[in-house]
Assembly symmetry: C2
Homo-oligomer: 340 residues x 2
C-alpha cells in the first residue's frame, strides 16, 4: 500500500509508492509510451482489467464481456487503495497516513482510436452521468473527503494509455488546490455576498471578449487569468456547488458544450494534448450539503508550453497568448472545417 | 509590455503577453528546440544579447567582448520589464497591473557544452556570488517584492537554450508559492518557537535515512514528502532567511555540495533534465530584515515523470520512488564511476 505524506512547511500531500526494489534506471528520462499493440480497454480484453464497478452495456450481455458502452473499473496500478482502515501516524515532525482512497478508470468508449470529437452526444452524456454516479457513490464512504475526476489526453498530458478514458482518484484529505479554491471563493462571498463564479459568468457574458460559446445552461470561456494558451473553462450559468446534483436536462447541454470545446481546441490547435479536470465541492458533511460560495466547473488545459523552474518556484504562470485572442480563435474554429 | 493578471478565485498571478497577432499555429504541440547552431551566449556573440548588467571577466578585457567568466544580461524576450511605473488597475471584478519587474539571464560559463559537473568549484562559487549580488541590487528597487532565481537544464525541464545559464525574474508581488512557504513556516514558528527548516535539519541528521551528503555548512537530502523521484534539497545547517547574506566561507561549501548533488543525479539517472530553484525571503521591508521563521534553501527537481490532470487539480503529487531509497542511490552514486 502506498503512503500519504505531508510536507511540513506548505501542507502539501504527496502519495509515495512504498514498494521497494525500484532502480534509478526504471525512471527513463525520455521514455515513450510503449506501443505493444495490446490494449486492456478494448472489447474482448475485459478480463485483463479488474472487474466492472459500474457499466452501461447492451441489455442481456454478461458483466465483464463485450457489449458495454461505458465501463468503470479499479485502476490496476492504483495510487490509493480502497481496502483497509485509515491510519494516521507521525514520524518526528512529519505526518503521514496509509494510502486509503479510490483510484478508478472510466473507459469512455470501446473504440480505441476515438476521442470526444468523434463521440456521439449520447456517449458523452453517459460518461458525464457516470461521473456523477461515481461521486455520489464514493461520498457514502466516511473515510473519503474528495473525488477528483480528470482526463489526460495525449502523452504530453500524462496519458499512459491511448484508449479514451477518464480517471477518478478519491482522497482521504481535501487536496490543497481544492482548499485554496474553496477558501478563495468563500473570501469573495464573505466580502460581497455573491458567488465569485456567478460574478465571472455575469461579467464575461456582459463583455463577451472571452466567451467561446454559450448554451441554455453553460458558458465556455477563456479565463481572465489563463495560465495556459487556449485554457478553456466550462461553467454552469446557474449556481451549483456539487457536480453530482446535475439534472438530466443539464447533462445534455453540458455534453454539447464540452464536445464543442474539444472540437474547437482540436480545430484551432491540431489535436493538442490536454488535461481536463472537474472542480467540484468536497465531502465536507454527511448530509447533502451545498455551498452558496462554491460553483462546480470544468477546466480544460491544452499542453502547449512547458512548466519550468519559474512556474514551480512561484506559482506564477507565463502565458504567451492573451485569452481574448484565444477566445476569438476558438469562436471561429469552425471555419477550420471542423463544423458543429 | 506584458500584463500581470490575478485569478479572482485563488489569487494566482499570471503574466500575459499582450502583443497581438499570434496564431494558434505558433504553439507547436511537440515543437522541439530549434538547433540552429548559433548561440547568443557563446564567446564572440556578446553584441547579440542586451549589454552586461554584471560581469566577472579577465582584467583588461572591455565590456561586452570575450574574456568573461560569468555574465549577467537582461533577457532579450523579457516576461517582465524594468522600465516604467507600476500601475495597478481593475477590470470589473478582476485585478491587473502592468508587467513591471526584471528578467535577467546569468550566463554561467562561456563553455557551450558544459554543465555544473564540469565546472570547477571557483566557477560555481562565482555564479553563486552573482546570485547574491543580483538579489542585493534588485532589493534597492522599491517597486519589487521578490527575486526568483532558477535554472532549467534540458529541454524537458523548459530550457530553450542549451548553453548553461540561470535565470532571474523579479516580481512586483510576492508570488503565491513563496507566500505559502512563508505562511507555513510562520505557523510552525508560532506554535513551536522553532524554525521548521532547522527542525528538518535536526531530524534528518538524526535519522540519516534521507541524507545525501553533509559538509561543514550544508546538508543535501531527499525531502520526506518528495514530489518527484530523486528530488534533492540543499539546506544551510545554520539558520538564515536571506540567501544574499551568505558569507564567503559558506559559498565555497555550497558550491561543493551543489556540484556533488548534480554529479550524483547525473550518475544515478544518466544526466536527467532538471529544474533548480532558490527559495529565499522576499523584500518585505526596506531595512535589512531577517526572519526567525524562514530559512533559505535550494530545491533540485529532476524531471522524470509527467505532471498530469491529477496533480494539476489537487496539488497532490504521486511519487513512485520513496525518498529513503532515492537517498541511498544518491549516496552511492559515486560507485557509478563519477567520483568526486
Amino acid at each position: 500500500m502506498s503512503e500519504l505524506r505531508k510536507d511540513p512547511i506548505v501542507d502539501r500531500w504527496v502519495i509515495i509508492a512504498t514498494e521497494r526494489g525500484k532502480r534509478p534506471s526504471d525512471f527513463g528520462t525520455t521514455k515513450s509510451e510503449k506501443k505493444s499493440g495490446f490494449c486492456p480497454f478494448c472489447y474482448g480484453n475485459e478480463d485483463k482489467t479488474p472487474p466492472e464497478i459500474r457499466v452501461i452495456r447492451e441489455p442481456g450481455t454478461p458483466p465483464n464481456t463485450p457489449g458495454w458502452r461505458v465501463r468503470v473499473v479499479a485502476n490496476k496500478f492504483p495510487a490509493l487503495q480502497v481496502e483497509g482502515d485509515l491510519s494516521r501516524t507521525g514520524e518526528g515532525i512529519y505526518d503521514k497516513m496509509n494510502g486509503i482512497g479510490a483510484h478508478e478508470v472510466i473507459i469512455d468508449s470501446p473504440e480505441h482510436n476515438e476521442d470526444i470529437p468523434a463521440f456521439d452526444l449520447k456517449r458523452i452524456e453517459e460518461v458525464l452521468w457516470v461521473y456523477a454516479e461515481r461521486i455520489a457513490d464514493l461520498k457514502k464512504d466516511f473515510r473519503l473527503r474528495y473525488v477528483m475526476i480528470f482526463r489526460n489526453r495525449g502523452e504530453a498530458a500524462g496519458a499512459s494509455l491511448e484508449h479514451p478514458h477518464s480517471q477518478l482518484i478519491s482522497t482521504p484529505v481535501i487536496p490543497k488546490r481544492v482548499t485554496e479554491e474553496l477558501d478563495g471563493a468563500k473570501r469573495h462571498y464573505d466580502l460581497k455576498e455573491r458567488c465569485v463564479f456567478c460574478d465571472i459568468v455575469r461579467q464575461e457574458l456582459g463583455s463577451g471578449d472571452r466567451v467561446v460559446e454559450e448554451n441554455e445552461n453553460f458558458l465556455s470561456l477563456t479565463p481572465f487569468a489563463s495560465r495556459f494558451p487556449f485554457e478553456t473553462w466550462i461553467i454552469p450559468k446557474s449556481h451549483s456547488s456539487n457536480y453530482e446534483f446535475i439534472g438530466k436536462g443539464e447533462v445534455s447541454h453540458l455534453a454539447a458544450i464540452l464536445k464543442n470545446a474539444v472540437v474547437r481546441l482540436n480545430g484551432a490547435l491540431n489535436n493538442p494534448p490536454y488535461n481536463f479536470i472537474l472542480h467540484t465541492a468536497p465531502f465536507d458533511g454527511r448530509f447533502p450539503v451545498t455551498h452558496e460560495y462554491y460553483h462546480w466547473h470544468f477546466e480544460i488545459m491544452p499542453i502547449l508550453t512547458r512548466v519550468a523552474g519559474f512556474e514551480w518556484g512561484t506559482g506564477f504562470f507565463i502565458n504567451p497568448m492573451p485569452p481574448e485572442e484565444a477566445a476569438k480563435f476558438l469562436r471561429e474554429a469552425n471555419q477550420f472545417g471542423w463544423g458543429f
